[in-house]
């Protein structure tokens, strides 16, 4: 509710109330949804502001890199369920809104964001969500902001849900159908399939992981390096493109190029357009970006 931190006030002032503007984070996925189109670039506050292990929350400037955050959380045996290319910031990862590769274990990225301190198109600071791990007070602005590419509001500071780092973690791979791997395991963190070979990330207590490794060995899976994934991303439509790797259970294909824009109904596009106009009537926030165009 209150934006008492001087850095947030500076951020609000920098965003101002007129002229095209966008926030630049690590710019690791700067082209997603279009570019900045010459909009004035501002930076979000950087740094960890409050880490509460007993609450399982962390308050962090949106300009903080995921690497810095992960390093600080690791000291306490904690992590957040987000990932991104080297150099990605917390705000950038939220704006792009892609769930972590380990989503089967850590959940969707939309469930990580508890509170966001933002600046609206009118230059007024506001808070979305709340600081507690459970909260259904009012409308769920946080989920709406995740994946919105900074077109509804600019996020300066957030409170994220943390979770314990798994005790044990191991990648296995082998030429076997992914369904067989799913049947033989309990809640694997990630299951990837390239059309011939399945890679699986197992996490948990050491003895439980050992037991699953033994079971999977009988299916022909052996310890492997974490797979290197292509930067592009498309939706699975039953066929894997050349060089594509499917995230089983997420419907996402990692591929050399991004595929064309996804098919969304006209009714949804109209609703989305009303949403954008309602939040940003003059179209000053990230004017070059469209969350419905996934072109890189």
């Amino acid at each position: 509710m209150t934006v008492g931190d001087g850095r947030m006030e500076a951020f609000r002032s920098e965003v101002g109330d007129s002229g095209a503007v966008c926030v630049r984070g690590g710019a690791t996925r700067w082209g997603v949804g279009g570019g900045s189109a010459g909009a004035r670039e501002v930076s979000a506050p950087v740094g960890i502001m409050a880490l509460e292990p007993a609450e399982m929350t962390v308050m962090v400037g949106a300009g903080t890199t995921l690497t810095e955050l992960a390093g600080e959380l690791a000291v306490h045996g904690l992590e957040v369920g987000m990932d991104g290319p080297q150099g990605s910031t917390v705000g950038g990862a939220l704006a792009v809104g892609r769930s972590a590769l380990r989503r089967r274990r850590v959940g969707q990225i939309a469930d990580v964001l508890l509170q966001a301190d933002c600046v609206g198109a009118d230059g007024v600071a506001f808070t979305a969500g709340g600081p507690t791990v459970k909260n259904v007070t009012g409308y769920d602005l946080c989920r709406l902001l995740v994946g919105s590419l900074g077109t509804l509001a600019l996020v300066g500071r957030v409170i994220l849900r943390t979770r314990p780092v798994p005790v044990c973690s191991v990648w296995l791979a082998g030429e076997v159908e992914p369904d067989l791997v799913l049947e033989a395991t309990y809640r694997p963190a990630s299951v990837l399939w390239d059309g011939a070979r399945t890679s699986v990330l197992l996490e948990g207590h050491g003895a439980d992981v050992d037991q699953m490794v033994e079971t999977l060995a009988r299916l022909g899976l052996a310890a492997a390096e974490p797979p290197v994934l292509a930067p592009g991303r498309g939706r699975w439509s039953g066929l894997l493109p050349d060089g594509g790797v499917l995230e089983v259970g997420a419907g996402v294909v990692h591929q050399p190029d991004d595929s064309g824009p996804p098919i969304v109904s006209e009714g949804v596009l109209n609703l989305a357009a009303r949403m954008r106009a309602s939040f940003d009537p003059s179209g000053r926030l990230n004017p070059g970006r469209d969350p419905y165009s996934r072109a890189a």
Binding site: T132, V133, V146, R163
Partner: protein, 472 residues
């Protein structure tokens, strides 16, 4: 009326006094609602026709499931068209391999998990009303339940939702895969309390049944010691599937009914449920046992078998039924506070209730700091409702002052909209109204709810304080 009869079967459109009285209230303490025509559509097209007819005649519309809501979200103001979805109760599709199901909104929460028996899958949100509440209602309120500590509230389990927007248009928000395409309009819709449109088909995520489950009962001589144990478990990096607290008055009330072997002389008991794989669960049982002893637990009991496990849970789940022997009426509040403030806030709640000369029972989701103080009273007692509401308001104020929020799972409805400004600034509320306006520019969907601005509902009051001329 004639438009509605033309769109639906005539017997599925009702205007009689009995029906209007029945649909004028929900499970909250709010009374004095005024329902207009009541419709029972059975298809998406019929829901859309009801919405279009309502709007064409300048009427608001209010959607409703089983009416188990506790915040007055389904209480009608100014005779709106009531759209009741309990007859849309089919489970349309279960895809076991992709772990999802499409259901209609009137499917009862527990019926879905029963239907899934034998598949090794279940629907994770488990509100206490799960035997009667509907999945459409769960979506509207973003409902929780004990096991949401580990698995997350309803929003984390809704992949897609077909919605009739307030102009009658039908859209599908979200997709079967999960990550949103464009704006997460699905995420914005869930928890909208019927003010953003009407869910007519819901694609839910199904959760694998855990191979191993352990239920522990810990008892303490003070609420503070129990609360410290909760914080210690979380701080040690463990997230139990559920972590519930019951105070002495609850234990004394339920033990005669369930014979679970709760220690009735304990100031508080914790129910801790651990699930997952055998070695991980065994390790956590040991670590929690040690933490509990360090923090003053008198005993730590691990349920030996399924029967014992069920008895421990039965006490927790039947708490609200057992209170009837103490007082005929209750007011159940719902706030969330930081877990580390549990002891201090619960202590303050006892004081507040004492000041108002009332009785309180505390049975709540301690693991995520979600308080459920249950105020007991007899509505026939002169002036009691004023004291109940005063205590409720003070509990909300204390929770927010401790860094908490107004609601963890019941929603805002009519009950708490006047408190929204305790948690949110005018700018925060203005942004929320922008989200709402994008879905419902003309303000026809359940307009008097959630946000303090906009339509009021002056004729609704609380149990026991009915104004002159109310026909309820």
């Amino acid at each position: 009326m004639s438009d509605l009869v033309a769109a639906l079967d005539p017997e599925r459109v009702q205007v009689g006094d009995v029906a209007r009285r029945l649909y004028s209230r929900d499970a909250s303490v709010l009374r004095g609602g005024r329902a207009g025509v009541i419709c029972f559509p059975v298809t998406t097209a019929e829901v859309s026709a009801c919405v279009v007819a309502a709007v064409a005649h300048g009427r608001d519309f209010v959607v409703r499931g089983a009416g188990t809501g506790l915040a007055g979200g389904a209480v009608p103001c100014d005779e709106p068209v009531m759209i009741v979805l309990t007859r849309m109760d089919r489970i349309l599709e279960v895809d076991e391999s992709r772990r999802l199901a499409w259901v209609e909104p009137g499917v009862v929460n527990l019926d879905l998990s029963r239907h899934l028996g034998g598949t090794g899958l279940h629907f994770a949100p488990d509100p206490s009303s799960q035997q009667s509440c509907t999945i459409g209602g769960n979506v509207a309120n973003n409902s929780g339940g004990p096991h949401c500590l580990l698995y997350g509230v309803t929003s984390a389990h809704v992949l897609a939702v077909e919605v009739v927007l307030p102009d009658g248009e039908v859209v599908v928000l979200g997709n079967e895969e999960g990550d949103s395409v464009g704006y997460d309009l699905r995420g914005a819709f869930v928890g909208g309390e019927g003010t953003l449109g009407i869910a007519t088909r819901i694609c839910v995520r199904l959760t694998e049944d855990p191979p191993e489950v352990a239920t522990l009962l810990l008892d303490f001589m003070s609420v503070g010691a129990a609360a410290e144990t909760v914080s210690a478990i979380i701080a040690a990096g463990m997230i139990p599937a559920a972590l519930e607290m019951m105070d002495q008055r609850v234990v004394e009330a339920v033990e005669p009914f369930v014979n679970a072997g709760y220690p009735t002389d304990a100031a508080a008991v914790l129910i801790v449920e651990l699930d997952g794989q055998p070695a991980g669960v065994a390790d956590e049982i040991m670590r929690i046992g040690e933490l509990a002893s360090t923090h003053g637990a008198r005993s730590v009991r691990v349920a030996a078998d399924e029967g014992e496990r069920e008895r421990i849970w039965k006490g927790r789940k039947s708490a609200f039924g057992a209170i009837a022997v103490i007082k005929p009426d209750y007011y159940l509040n719902d706030t969330v506070i930081p877990r580390t403030k549990l002891a201090e806030v619960v202590e303050r709640i006892y004081e507040i209730v004492e000041e108002q000369d009332l009785i309180v029972m505390n049975v709540f989701h301690a693991g995520d700091g979600n308080l459920h103080p249950l105020l007991l009273f007899d509505a026939r007692e002169e002036g009691v409702m004023e004291r109940v509401l005063a205590a409720g308001e003070e509990i909300v104020r204390v929770s927010v002052a401790a860094g908490g929020v107004l609601s963890g799972e019941h929603g805002i409805g009519l009950e708490k909209k006047r408190f929204m400004s305790l948690q949110f600034s005018p700018a925060d509320l203005e942004v929320q109204s922008r989200l709402r306006a994008a879905f419902d520019p003309d303000g026809r969907a359940n307009p008097a709810k959630v946000l303090p601005s906009g339509a009021s509902c002056g004729h609704v009051t609380s149990l026991g304080r009915l104004p002159e001329g109310t026909w309820v």
